[in-house]
Symmetry: C2
Subunit: 338 residues, 2 copies
DNA sequence: TTAATTTGCTAAACCGGTTTATAATAATTA
DNA sequence: TAATTATTATAAACCGGTTTAGCAAATTAA
């Protein structure tokens, strides 16, 4: 590694043009009619001296960096951390490295980060978009840079994406609660108008309507901290003592909701059933264990990488949209009245 | 962004040498005695056309990429995901981006990944080293590349690192358990000889010895899956019915241990107290809440970045070693006999 | 035997910056 | 007035690869 060899050094050492060496390195020896003899001489030298071409120089001339930009809401959140793990593993197999950042769902910050990643010439983007970055995404696409959104997308313009079937999975989960004889089912969500959230809500509302039940929705402000959220849910429970079940639209809300339920002295599932959106290690361990709508994380990661690799390796951009089904994992928190 | 401007284009447009433009761009206008007049003309042009220098070209000639390689055991683990979050946030402020990977604690894989990151010219490394990569670390250091280890380090050779006070924090936690009148305290650990683990064990054994109590250690193989681990702990509990308390050396072991305790029909803290190493959202929410040795994650991230930035910005390499104290967060799982 | 083609290889331009060494002019000094 | 020094700017080399265009020699075809 010390005093690294360059292609020029090799050219000098072997008294050969660096063009020739470049051709051989890139497997174009035959195509460019370099003789077997010379090819072997060069390869031998390269092996003996453990020559590794400078990737920066390569990137500068080819424009490819073999880097993917992964922009998630918050890398430390369970769901995104899992995605990051699988995405990296899969990308690695194809020689790609991942550079990541947390958008914090902040529009301005995200715009800046997209610029920074683009400046670093990432070959493709995986993004969980906050609201208001349609223009920046459009710019990337117009510049022919592959982008695939995930977890959510823009309904008003066409991009590649990988998302869960938020509507269907919530709809089914609510219907399941109803089969367990729950009627007063509340929906606890974050104050967000992004489509992954609105779809979950739509699933809830439709399931309730079709069963002639009344919707009851609690919206938690984004700016809430943990304590505030717990308080808010606690007082919601106090104001709605007739509730049979709660559906939490994210796993962090579930965590806080559990605390609130505990604060109110209620027992799950005896007094109230709960269902979480997004699974978590925690939910399996907790007593009672928590029924959850589980996103197929590994499959989503695979789809993301497939779409991206496909797009990055071809000259033509394509739009690919995958809606993957979730799985309702039944556990103890919904066994009240079966 | 389309058809990006280069410094050459600007030179041509303004009829100025690109040397001049480069100087101005890098704030060397005064030093290089470029006239105010010309400087302003160039700056105006740059602003009007939103010129952004090509980072690849810059990196190629300067050798700096403003990229940090973050190599953790598994990016999706709670602790590492948190570290990743804070490290990125701090790095960002100084213009650095993070490229990450999961080593899976696999020596061979890690060696390969170090090479790949080095090939990409990361400016510095943050590594949770598996065993047996001393040579590779040494190589990096000899090549003058800043490296800082964290979570664990090599006792037999000198590097920068940021770790927790594993010995002291475990020692204190065990002593705390003893003050709550626990005597039969078992230590549940992963089968690992890395120093973060051996130090925790040393803290446990010493605390036990000093109080004339008998150590009781359960080692869980690395290869175990979740189910096997739960079974193993369950049968350990069956074989040791006299136990007062369990100390879990990692937070995943705690999760599985809780399930095992539940399987045995034991109540925390009534029948048995538990303490977890590494805190987790979960532990605060769980009923009963779980006492934990909490690593000061944000502080560790800050130290990591400080050491690295410091080292990357100077010509000279330094060795800096930080042992940060942990905090024992008392919760309900250890209130049995106070 | 000559023209055309194939084989084998390379010079030079290019990607887009940084940096060293130096030139041309203006202003001071002796 | 001539020599010296400051000021302002630049040409060219460099980082380390890729790629285009083309040359010379060997082979084949006419």
């Amino acid at each position: 590694m010390k005093n690294k060899l360059s292609i020029n050094d090799i050219a000098k050492a072997l008294q050969v043009s660096k063009t020739t060496i470049s051709f051989i390195l890139n497997g174009k020896a035959e195509e460019k009619r370099i003789s077997k003899d010379l090819t072997e001489r060069v390869i031998k030298f390269i092996k003996e001296n453990d020559f590794r071409p400078n990737q920066l120089a390569k990137s500068l001339s080819t424009g490819k960096t073999f880097t993917i930009g992964l922009m998630v809401e918050k890398i430390s959140d369970y769901f995104f951390a899992q995605i990051a793990y699988h995405v990296e593993e899969l990308a690695n197999k194809s020689g790609y490295k991942i550079i990541y950042c947390s958008t914090e769902n902040d529009t301005q910050k995200t715009k800046e980060l997209i610029k920074l990643f683009a400046e670093r010439h990432v070959d493709g983007f995986i993004i969980t978009p906050p609201v208001g970055i349609e223009k920046e995404i459009k710019d990337l696409m117009q510049n022919d840079i592959p982008v695939v959104l995930f977890d959510r997308f823009f309904t008003d313009f066409n991009t590649s994406y990988v998302v869960m079937d938020n509507y269907e999975s919530t709809y089914k989960a609510i219907n399941y609660l109803i089969t367990t004889k729950c009627a007063n089912i509340a929906f606890i969500e974050l104050e967000s108008d992004q489509n992954q959230m609105t779809e979950r809500k739509r699933g809830y509302v439709n399931a309730m309507n079709e069963n002639r039940l009344t919707s009851n929705i609690l919206r938690i402000p984004f700016s809430n901290d943990k304590k505030q959220t717990i308080l808010q849910i606690t007082s919601f429970l106090a104001d709605n003592i007739q509730l049979d079940a709660l559906f939490f639209a994210t796993n962090y809300l579930t965590m806080h909701g559990i605390k609130a339920i505990h604060n109110r002295g209620l027992k799950i599932p005896h007094d109230i059933s709960i269902v979480a959106f997004d699974d978590h290690d925690f939910f399996d361990i907790y007593t009672p264990s928590i029924t959850a709508v589980a996103q197929p994380i590994q499959e989503m990661a695979q789809q993301l990488i497939n779409i991206l690799l496909n797009d990055m390796s071809s000259r033509k951009r394509t739009i690919q949209q995958k809606v993957v089904p979730a799985k309702l994992i039944l556990r103890d928190s919904t066994t009240r009245k079966i």
